[in-house]
Symmetry: C2
Subunit: 194 residues, 2 copies
């Protein structure tokens, strides 16, 4: 399985951009569409505003017990009713990355309850984590959330709780790209611009 993904903001893609919200630091340019591809893209279409490269990877913090709890409730992506989604790119401070593994784990879960809070919103909000820091990208992570419109309020509440945690003191850039699924979109890869 190819673990590389590209999130391209431009005129193509299955997701219509509704709004880009600045949270911490500078946002990304609002575009018409968001295109997500399960491949590495070096040269996006010329009319793209941004091209974020990332990969899925092994679990970095959660324990076997937490993983087993998650597995019983976490929904898949691409559910028919989940027509709303939010891309949240995040960059953490250098001081976070200089912490040892036990220190990051303690802040992540024992103090901030990252997994425990997230699990309360399952199966309403489907999520997936993509890593980008190791690729020298402008963000450390791309977090991706899909939900039905009636769960938008619950999703906002989850964000508020996460952002009040100790872990979030280490976030130095964060923004939200709100999108809506275009049910008529047919994925056919990158369409070259003439």
């Amino acid at each position: 399985m190819n673990n590389r993904f590209s999130f391209i903001g431009g005129k193509q893609g299955q997701w219509r951009v509704l709004e880009v919200r600045e949270i911490i630091g500078s946002a990304l340019q609002a575009t018409e569409r968001l295109h997500i591809l399960n491949q590495k893209i070096d040269l996006p279409p010329q009319d793209s505003a941004w091209n974020l490269q990332c990969f899925t990877s092994n679990i970095r913090y959660s324990t076997r017990l937490e993983q087993d709890q998650l597995k019983t409730v976490q929904p898949p992506l691409d559910r028919q009713e989940a027509v709303r989604a939010v891309l949240i790119p995040i960059k953490k401070r250098n001081s976070w990355w200089e912490l040892a593994q036990d220190q990051r784990r303690a802040i992540f879960e024992e103090q901030s309850h990252h997994t425990a809070v997230g699990i309360e919103y399952l199966p309403r909000v489907a999520r997936r984590l993509f890593h980008c820091r190791d690729l020298g990208e402008p963000f450390d992570f791309l977090t991706w959330f899909e939900f039905a419109p009636e769960h938008a309020l619950a999703f906002d509440q989850m964000l508020t709780r996460m952002r009040s945690s100790q872990e979030w003191e280490y976030v130095e850039r964060e923004l939200e790209v709100h999108v809506e699924r275009d049910l008529d979109w047919v994925e056919c890869g990158i369409i070259p611009v003439e």
Copy 2:
């Protein structure tokens, strides 16, 4: 700082290849030289036999206490007396990567004493860890060790101890590329082949 590195086996580079040893699974082709560059290389010289892409990253397992202990004894790379080096590419089984963080940590340190054993050979053996699994490379890690010739025996002893650990039951491919520093080599990047 650029965290990307390339290990290229071919006719160029600061390290003369002395021997390639097959340990588990297939080895790499023995070449004249090993070239290590602190950059991503998509197109290596045509006369190269292999091109391993990797990156340095944050600490994945060790605790603050272990990190602080390491810092007091770990030597830098490129010491004048460390004219011998060994590149050990390693690939672990999928069953390793499917473990949760607490399970991998327990095998890595509490059961296999990876850091504790390694520290016994400091400052004789300088080491650096490079990650490659997330790039879709054939290996998960490139481990790199530099030492003076009189410490070659201690280095071999360390490998024997590591390989008898529970952690090593998860290794499915491993080999050794023994090299010697060419003190006359002048680094000038990749030299294109005419």
